[in-house]
Symmetry: C2
Subunit: 206 residues, 2 copies
Protein backbone atom coordinates (compact mmCIF):
# COMPACT_ATOMS: atom_id res chain seq x y z
CA UNK A 1 0.00 0.00 0.00
CA UNK A 2 2.88 2.34 0.80
CA UNK A 3 5.75 2.53 -1.67
CA UNK A 4 9.24 1.71 -0.49
CA UNK A 5 10.97 4.89 -1.51
CA UNK A 6 9.81 7.67 0.78
CA UNK A 7 11.41 10.98 1.58
CA UNK A 8 12.51 11.23 5.20
CA UNK A 9 10.80 14.15 6.88
CA UNK A 10 10.48 15.52 10.39
CA UNK A 11 7.29 16.21 12.34
CA UNK A 12 8.49 19.61 13.46
CA UNK A 13 8.53 20.85 9.88
CA UNK A 14 4.77 20.40 9.63
CA UNK A 15 2.35 23.30 9.77
CA UNK A 16 -1.42 23.47 9.60
CA UNK A 17 -2.83 22.95 6.14
CA UNK A 18 0.23 21.12 4.83
CA UNK A 19 -0.16 18.69 1.99
CA UNK A 20 2.48 15.98 2.21
CA UNK A 21 3.10 13.05 -0.07
CA UNK A 22 5.36 10.00 0.09
CA UNK A 23 7.11 11.01 3.31
CA UNK A 24 8.40 8.98 6.20
CA UNK A 25 8.23 10.37 9.72
CA UNK A 26 10.23 8.32 12.17
CA UNK A 27 10.09 9.03 15.87
CA UNK A 28 9.71 12.54 17.24
CA UNK A 29 6.75 14.29 18.74
CA UNK A 30 4.31 16.92 17.54
CA UNK A 31 2.71 17.33 20.94
CA UNK A 32 0.30 20.20 21.08
CA UNK A 33 1.09 21.37 17.55
CA UNK A 34 -1.62 22.82 15.36
CA UNK A 35 -1.81 20.44 12.41
CA UNK A 36 -5.39 21.04 11.38
CA UNK A 37 -6.39 20.46 7.81
CA UNK A 38 -3.23 18.63 6.79
CA UNK A 39 -3.21 16.04 4.06
CA UNK A 40 -0.93 13.00 4.00
CA UNK A 41 -0.79 10.78 0.96
CA UNK A 42 1.31 7.62 0.84
CA UNK A 43 3.12 8.52 4.05
CA UNK A 44 4.51 6.44 6.86
CA UNK A 45 4.57 7.42 10.54
CA UNK A 46 6.80 5.25 12.68
CA UNK A 47 6.83 5.61 16.47
CA UNK A 48 5.59 9.17 16.46
CA UNK A 49 4.00 10.88 19.45
CA UNK A 50 1.01 13.10 18.77
CA UNK A 51 -0.31 13.96 22.22
CA UNK A 52 -2.71 16.88 21.89
CA UNK A 53 -1.54 17.61 18.36
CA UNK A 54 -4.53 19.31 16.78
CA UNK A 55 -5.28 17.14 13.74
CA UNK A 56 -8.88 18.19 13.25
CA UNK A 57 -9.93 17.99 9.62
CA UNK A 58 -6.76 16.29 8.43
CA UNK A 59 -6.70 13.55 5.78
CA UNK A 60 -4.66 10.37 5.77
CA UNK A 61 -4.68 8.43 2.51
CA UNK A 62 -2.74 5.27 1.68
CA UNK A 63 -0.76 5.87 4.83
CA UNK A 64 0.67 3.68 7.58
CA UNK A 65 1.02 4.38 11.29
CA UNK A 66 3.37 2.09 13.17
CA UNK A 67 3.28 2.18 16.98
CA UNK A 68 1.78 5.66 17.16
CA UNK A 69 1.48 7.12 20.65
CA UNK A 70 -0.74 9.81 22.13
CA UNK A 71 -2.25 10.47 25.52
CA UNK A 72 -4.97 12.35 23.69
CA UNK A 73 -5.33 12.12 19.95
CA UNK A 74 -7.25 15.14 18.73
CA UNK A 75 -8.44 13.88 15.37
CA UNK A 76 -12.11 14.82 15.08
CA UNK A 77 -13.51 15.21 11.57
CA UNK A 78 -10.53 13.47 10.01
CA UNK A 79 -10.51 11.28 6.93
CA UNK A 80 -8.73 7.93 6.83
CA UNK A 81 -8.69 6.07 3.54
CA UNK A 82 -6.59 3.00 2.82
CA UNK A 83 -4.82 3.39 6.14
CA UNK A 84 -3.08 0.81 8.28
CA UNK A 85 -2.52 1.47 11.99
CA UNK A 86 -0.31 -1.03 13.77
CA UNK A 87 0.03 -1.25 17.55
CA UNK A 88 -1.31 2.15 18.53
CA UNK A 89 -0.98 3.25 22.14
CA UNK A 90 -3.64 5.86 22.50
CA UNK A 91 -5.30 7.09 25.67
CA UNK A 92 -8.26 9.05 24.43
CA UNK A 93 -8.53 8.87 20.66
CA UNK A 94 -11.00 11.54 19.57
CA UNK A 95 -12.06 10.55 16.08
CA UNK A 96 -15.67 11.61 16.28
CA UNK A 97 -17.42 12.73 13.09
CA UNK A 98 -14.69 11.16 10.99
CA UNK A 99 -14.66 9.08 7.82
CA UNK A 100 -12.81 5.79 7.83
CA UNK A 101 -12.74 3.76 4.63
CA UNK A 102 -10.55 0.73 4.14
CA UNK A 103 -8.80 1.05 7.47
CA UNK A 104 -7.00 -1.80 9.16
CA UNK A 105 -6.25 -1.37 12.84
CA UNK A 106 -4.02 -4.11 14.24
CA UNK A 107 -3.00 -4.79 17.80
CA UNK A 108 -2.30 -2.03 20.28
CA UNK A 109 -4.19 -0.66 23.22
CA UNK A 110 -6.65 2.21 23.23
CA UNK A 111 -8.40 3.42 26.37
CA UNK A 112 -11.14 5.32 24.63
CA UNK A 113 -11.78 5.24 20.92
CA UNK A 114 -14.38 7.88 20.21
CA UNK A 115 -15.97 7.34 16.81
CA UNK A 116 -19.30 8.97 17.62
CA UNK A 117 -21.10 10.04 14.51
CA UNK A 118 -18.35 8.69 12.25
CA UNK A 119 -18.78 6.72 9.05
CA UNK A 120 -16.82 3.51 8.93
CA UNK A 121 -16.72 1.23 5.93
CA UNK A 122 -14.46 -1.67 5.12
CA UNK A 123 -12.76 -1.44 8.48
CA UNK A 124 -11.03 -4.32 10.24
CA UNK A 125 -9.97 -4.19 13.87
CA UNK A 126 -7.73 -7.13 14.64
CA UNK A 127 -6.23 -8.09 17.95
CA UNK A 128 -6.97 -4.68 19.47
CA UNK A 129 -7.60 -4.02 23.14
CA UNK A 130 -10.02 -1.13 23.54
CA UNK A 131 -11.50 -0.25 26.92
CA UNK A 132 -14.27 1.98 25.59
CA UNK A 133 -15.35 1.96 21.98
CA UNK A 134 -17.91 4.61 21.21
CA UNK A 135 -19.85 4.09 17.98
CA UNK A 136 -22.93 6.03 19.03
CA UNK A 137 -24.65 7.59 16.03
CA UNK A 138 -22.04 6.02 13.75
CA UNK A 139 -22.74 4.45 10.35
CA UNK A 140 -20.89 1.19 10.39
CA UNK A 141 -20.70 -0.80 7.17
CA UNK A 142 -18.62 -3.89 6.49
CA UNK A 143 -16.69 -3.75 9.73
CA UNK A 144 -15.13 -6.77 11.38
CA UNK A 145 -13.75 -7.23 14.86
CA UNK A 146 -11.25 -10.07 14.83
CA UNK A 147 -9.88 -11.37 18.14
CA UNK A 148 -10.36 -8.02 19.84
CA UNK A 149 -10.96 -7.38 23.51
CA UNK A 150 -13.46 -4.58 23.92
CA UNK A 151 -14.62 -3.39 27.35
CA UNK A 152 -17.67 -1.31 26.59
CA UNK A 153 -19.16 -1.01 23.13
CA UNK A 154 -21.64 1.82 22.71
CA UNK A 155 -23.79 1.52 19.60
CA UNK A 156 -26.59 3.84 20.65
CA UNK A 157 -28.44 4.96 17.53
CA UNK A 158 -25.70 3.44 15.36
CA UNK A 159 -26.66 1.85 12.07
CA UNK A 160 -24.86 -1.36 11.32
CA UNK A 161 -24.66 -3.27 8.07
CA UNK A 162 -22.47 -6.34 7.71
CA UNK A 163 -20.79 -5.87 11.05
CA UNK A 164 -19.05 -8.95 12.39
CA UNK A 165 -18.45 -9.14 16.13
CA UNK A 166 -17.58 -12.83 16.18
CA UNK A 167 -14.37 -14.02 17.81
CA UNK A 168 -14.05 -10.85 19.85
CA UNK A 169 -14.84 -10.21 23.50
CA UNK A 170 -17.26 -7.48 24.52
CA UNK A 171 -17.80 -7.02 28.25
CA UNK A 172 -20.59 -4.48 28.07
CA UNK A 173 -22.97 -3.23 25.39
CA UNK A 174 -24.88 0.02 25.38
CA UNK A 175 -27.71 0.86 23.02
CA UNK A 176 -28.10 -2.67 21.69
CA UNK A 177 -30.90 -1.77 19.32
CA UNK A 178 -28.19 -0.01 17.29
CA UNK A 179 -26.56 -3.39 16.73
CA UNK A 180 -29.24 -4.56 14.29
CA UNK A 181 -27.40 -5.81 11.23
CA UNK A 182 -24.47 -7.26 13.14
CA UNK A 183 -23.44 -10.90 13.36
CA UNK A 184 -22.57 -12.50 16.68
CA UNK A 185 -21.49 -16.01 17.61
CA UNK A 186 -23.08 -18.53 19.97
CA UNK A 187 -20.91 -17.59 22.92
CA UNK A 188 -21.73 -13.92 22.48
CA UNK A 189 -25.39 -14.84 22.21
CA UNK A 190 -25.32 -16.49 25.62
CA UNK A 191 -23.33 -13.65 27.14
CA UNK A 192 -25.58 -10.95 25.68
CA UNK A 193 -28.85 -12.80 26.36
CA UNK A 194 -29.51 -11.17 29.76
CA UNK A 195 -29.01 -7.79 28.10
CA UNK A 196 -31.43 -8.69 25.33
CA UNK A 197 -34.00 -9.80 27.92
CA UNK A 198 -33.58 -6.56 29.84
CA UNK A 199 -33.96 -4.60 26.65
CA UNK A 200 -37.21 -6.46 25.96
CA UNK A 201 -38.50 -5.66 29.45
CA UNK A 202 -38.19 -9.20 30.74
CA UNK A 203 -37.04 -10.12 34.21
CA UNK A 204 -34.79 -13.14 34.58
CA UNK A 205 -34.92 -14.93 37.91
CA UNK A 206 -33.50 -18.38 38.54
CA UNK B 1 -65.32 -21.84 46.64
CA UNK B 2 -68.34 -23.95 45.74
CA UNK B 3 -70.69 -24.94 48.55
CA UNK B 4 -71.39 -28.62 49.12
CA UNK B 5 -75.13 -28.54 48.85
CA UNK B 6 -76.02 -27.99 45.23
CA UNK B 7 -79.21 -28.73 43.38
CA UNK B 8 -78.77 -31.41 40.76
CA UNK B 9 -79.72 -30.06 37.36
CA UNK B 10 -79.51 -31.21 33.74
CA UNK B 11 -77.86 -29.46 30.81
CA UNK B 12 -80.82 -30.02 28.56
CA UNK B 13 -82.99 -27.83 30.78
CA UNK B 14 -80.84 -24.82 29.97
CA UNK B 15 -81.92 -22.09 27.57
CA UNK B 16 -80.23 -18.92 26.40
CA UNK B 17 -80.22 -16.13 28.95
CA UNK B 18 -80.74 -18.46 31.93
CA UNK B 19 -79.54 -17.38 35.32
CA UNK B 20 -78.59 -20.40 37.41
CA UNK B 21 -77.30 -20.57 40.95
CA UNK B 22 -75.92 -23.36 43.14
CA UNK B 23 -76.55 -26.13 40.63
CA UNK B 24 -74.63 -29.27 39.81
CA UNK B 25 -74.48 -30.54 36.23
CA UNK B 26 -73.03 -34.01 36.01
CA UNK B 27 -72.33 -35.61 32.65
CA UNK B 28 -74.47 -34.99 29.65
CA UNK B 29 -73.94 -32.88 26.59
CA UNK B 30 -75.22 -29.53 25.37
CA UNK B 31 -73.64 -29.89 21.97
CA UNK B 32 -74.69 -27.17 19.61
CA UNK B 33 -77.20 -25.66 22.05
CA UNK B 34 -77.73 -21.92 22.12
CA UNK B 35 -76.69 -20.94 25.64
CA UNK B 36 -75.73 -17.33 24.99
CA UNK B 37 -75.90 -14.84 27.81
CA UNK B 38 -76.36 -17.41 30.57
CA UNK B 39 -75.20 -16.75 34.09
CA UNK B 40 -73.91 -19.42 36.44
CA UNK B 41 -73.21 -18.63 40.08
CA UNK B 42 -71.73 -21.16 42.48
CA UNK B 43 -72.31 -24.02 40.06
CA UNK B 44 -70.43 -27.20 39.33
CA UNK B 45 -70.03 -28.86 35.96
CA UNK B 46 -68.70 -32.38 36.10
CA UNK B 47 -67.77 -34.26 32.95
CA UNK B 48 -70.01 -32.24 30.68
CA UNK B 49 -69.61 -31.99 26.92
CA UNK B 50 -70.12 -28.60 25.36
CA UNK B 51 -69.05 -29.08 21.74
CA UNK B 52 -70.28 -26.14 19.72
CA UNK B 53 -72.61 -25.03 22.49
CA UNK B 54 -72.98 -21.31 21.90
CA UNK B 55 -71.89 -19.77 25.19
CA UNK B 56 -71.10 -16.29 23.87
CA UNK B 57 -71.58 -13.64 26.53
CA UNK B 58 -72.20 -16.07 29.37
CA UNK B 59 -70.91 -15.52 32.92
CA UNK B 60 -69.37 -18.09 35.24
CA UNK B 61 -68.88 -16.96 38.82
CA UNK B 62 -67.57 -19.02 41.75
CA UNK B 63 -68.01 -22.05 39.56
CA UNK B 64 -66.06 -25.25 39.00
CA UNK B 65 -65.57 -27.27 35.82
CA UNK B 66 -64.28 -30.78 36.27
CA UNK B 67 -63.08 -32.66 33.19
CA UNK B 68 -65.07 -30.53 30.74
CA UNK B 69 -64.96 -31.67 27.13
CA UNK B 70 -65.50 -29.87 23.85
CA UNK B 71 -64.17 -30.21 20.35
CA UNK B 72 -64.92 -26.54 19.92
CA UNK B 73 -65.80 -24.38 22.89
CA UNK B 74 -67.66 -21.31 21.68
CA UNK B 75 -67.16 -19.01 24.60
CA UNK B 76 -66.20 -15.63 23.16
CA UNK B 77 -66.93 -12.56 25.29
CA UNK B 78 -67.53 -14.67 28.37
CA UNK B 79 -66.80 -13.71 31.98
CA UNK B 80 -65.03 -16.06 34.36
CA UNK B 81 -64.64 -14.94 37.96
CA UNK B 82 -63.46 -17.16 40.79
CA UNK B 83 -63.57 -20.18 38.54
CA UNK B 84 -61.66 -23.42 38.73
CA UNK B 85 -61.24 -25.61 35.64
CA UNK B 86 -59.76 -29.03 36.25
CA UNK B 87 -58.51 -31.33 33.48
CA UNK B 88 -60.27 -29.77 30.50
CA UNK B 89 -60.12 -31.59 27.18
CA UNK B 90 -60.77 -28.88 24.68
CA UNK B 91 -59.89 -28.81 21.01
CA UNK B 92 -60.39 -25.22 20.01
CA UNK B 93 -61.37 -23.11 23.00
CA UNK B 94 -62.64 -19.78 21.68
CA UNK B 95 -62.46 -17.43 24.60
CA UNK B 96 -61.44 -14.30 22.73
CA UNK B 97 -62.49 -10.91 24.12
CA UNK B 98 -63.30 -12.48 27.47
CA UNK B 99 -62.68 -11.47 31.08
CA UNK B 100 -60.96 -13.92 33.39
CA UNK B 101 -60.42 -12.91 36.99
CA UNK B 102 -59.24 -15.30 39.67
CA UNK B 103 -59.27 -18.32 37.42
CA UNK B 104 -57.32 -21.49 38.16
CA UNK B 105 -56.82 -23.86 35.27
CA UNK B 106 -55.28 -27.16 36.29
CA UNK B 107 -54.10 -30.05 34.15
CA UNK B 108 -55.84 -31.08 30.98
CA UNK B 109 -55.04 -30.68 27.34
CA UNK B 110 -56.10 -27.90 25.05
CA UNK B 111 -55.17 -27.76 21.38
CA UNK B 112 -55.90 -24.08 20.87
CA UNK B 113 -56.75 -21.68 23.65
CA UNK B 114 -57.80 -18.45 22.00
CA UNK B 115 -57.69 -15.58 24.46
CA UNK B 116 -57.07 -12.82 21.91
CA UNK B 117 -58.04 -9.46 23.24
CA UNK B 118 -59.07 -10.89 26.59
CA UNK B 119 -58.33 -9.47 30.02
CA UNK B 120 -56.76 -11.91 32.42
CA UNK B 121 -55.98 -11.10 36.01
CA UNK B 122 -55.04 -13.35 38.89
CA UNK B 123 -54.97 -16.39 36.67
CA UNK B 124 -52.94 -19.52 37.33
CA UNK B 125 -52.37 -22.22 34.72
CA UNK B 126 -50.89 -25.26 36.37
CA UNK B 127 -49.77 -28.47 34.73
CA UNK B 128 -51.64 -27.68 31.51
CA UNK B 129 -50.66 -28.88 28.06
CA UNK B 130 -51.65 -26.30 25.46
CA UNK B 131 -50.51 -26.61 21.86
CA UNK B 132 -51.34 -23.03 20.87
CA UNK B 133 -51.99 -20.30 23.38
CA UNK B 134 -53.09 -17.07 21.78
CA UNK B 135 -52.76 -14.00 23.98
CA UNK B 136 -52.44 -11.50 21.15
CA UNK B 137 -53.80 -8.09 22.17
CA UNK B 138 -54.61 -9.47 25.63
CA UNK B 139 -54.10 -7.61 28.90
CA UNK B 140 -52.40 -10.07 31.17
CA UNK B 141 -51.95 -9.14 34.81
CA UNK B 142 -50.72 -11.34 37.63
CA UNK B 143 -50.75 -14.53 35.62
CA UNK B 144 -48.55 -17.52 36.39
CA UNK B 145 -47.74 -20.57 34.32
CA UNK B 146 -46.72 -23.39 36.61
CA UNK B 147 -45.27 -26.57 35.12
CA UNK B 148 -47.15 -26.10 31.88
CA UNK B 149 -46.16 -27.33 28.44
CA UNK B 150 -47.04 -24.72 25.86
CA UNK B 151 -46.29 -25.22 22.17
CA UNK B 152 -46.69 -21.75 20.68
CA UNK B 153 -47.32 -18.69 22.80
CA UNK B 154 -48.49 -15.65 20.86
CA UNK B 155 -48.20 -12.40 22.78
CA UNK B 156 -48.32 -10.02 19.83
CA UNK B 157 -49.32 -6.59 21.14
CA UNK B 158 -50.18 -8.12 24.53
CA UNK B 159 -49.51 -6.10 27.64
CA UNK B 160 -48.05 -8.09 30.49
CA UNK B 161 -47.70 -7.12 34.11
CA UNK B 162 -46.44 -9.58 36.72
CA UNK B 163 -46.57 -12.54 34.37
CA UNK B 164 -44.52 -15.51 35.47
CA UNK B 165 -43.43 -17.98 32.80
CA UNK B 166 -40.89 -19.79 34.97
CA UNK B 167 -41.00 -23.55 35.34
CA UNK B 168 -43.04 -23.95 32.16
CA UNK B 169 -41.97 -25.02 28.69
CA UNK B 170 -42.63 -22.81 25.68
CA UNK B 171 -41.49 -24.16 22.33
CA UNK B 172 -42.20 -21.09 20.24
CA UNK B 173 -42.90 -17.44 20.96
CA UNK B 174 -44.56 -14.95 18.65
CA UNK B 175 -44.59 -11.21 19.18
CA UNK B 176 -42.02 -11.24 21.95
CA UNK B 177 -42.11 -7.49 22.45
CA UNK B 178 -45.53 -8.11 24.00
CA UNK B 179 -43.82 -10.11 26.72
CA UNK B 180 -42.32 -7.03 28.39
CA UNK B 181 -43.23 -7.27 32.07
CA UNK B 182 -42.92 -11.04 32.26
CA UNK B 183 -40.44 -13.04 34.30
CA UNK B 184 -38.50 -15.91 32.79
CA UNK B 185 -35.92 -18.27 34.25
CA UNK B 186 -32.33 -18.94 33.18
CA UNK B 187 -33.20 -21.96 31.07
CA UNK B 188 -35.90 -20.02 29.23
CA UNK B 189 -33.41 -17.19 28.73
CA UNK B 190 -31.00 -19.51 26.94
CA UNK B 191 -33.80 -21.08 24.89
CA UNK B 192 -35.31 -17.72 23.92
CA UNK B 193 -31.96 -16.00 23.28
CA UNK B 194 -31.86 -16.76 19.53
CA UNK B 195 -35.35 -15.31 19.24
CA UNK B 196 -34.32 -12.19 21.13
CA UNK B 197 -31.31 -11.81 18.82
CA UNK B 198 -33.49 -12.20 15.76
CA UNK B 199 -35.93 -9.65 17.14
CA UNK B 200 -33.02 -7.23 17.59
CA UNK B 201 -31.91 -7.78 14.00
CA UNK B 202 -28.80 -9.75 14.92
CA UNK B 203 -27.52 -12.74 13.03
CA UNK B 204 -26.09 -15.60 15.03
CA UNK B 205 -23.50 -17.76 13.30
CA UNK B 206 -21.21 -20.19 15.08
Amino acid sequence: MVPDRLTVAALDELVAGDSREREHYEGGAADGEALTGCSFLECRFTGVTLTDAELRGSRFVETVFEAPFAHTLKAARTTWRDVRVVNPRWGSAELFDSELDSVHLTGGKIDYLNLRGSRLSNVVLEGCTITDLDLADARVTRVAFVDCRIGTLDVTRASCCSVDLRSSEFSRLHGIEGLAGATIDDLQLSLFAPLFAEHLGLRVEG
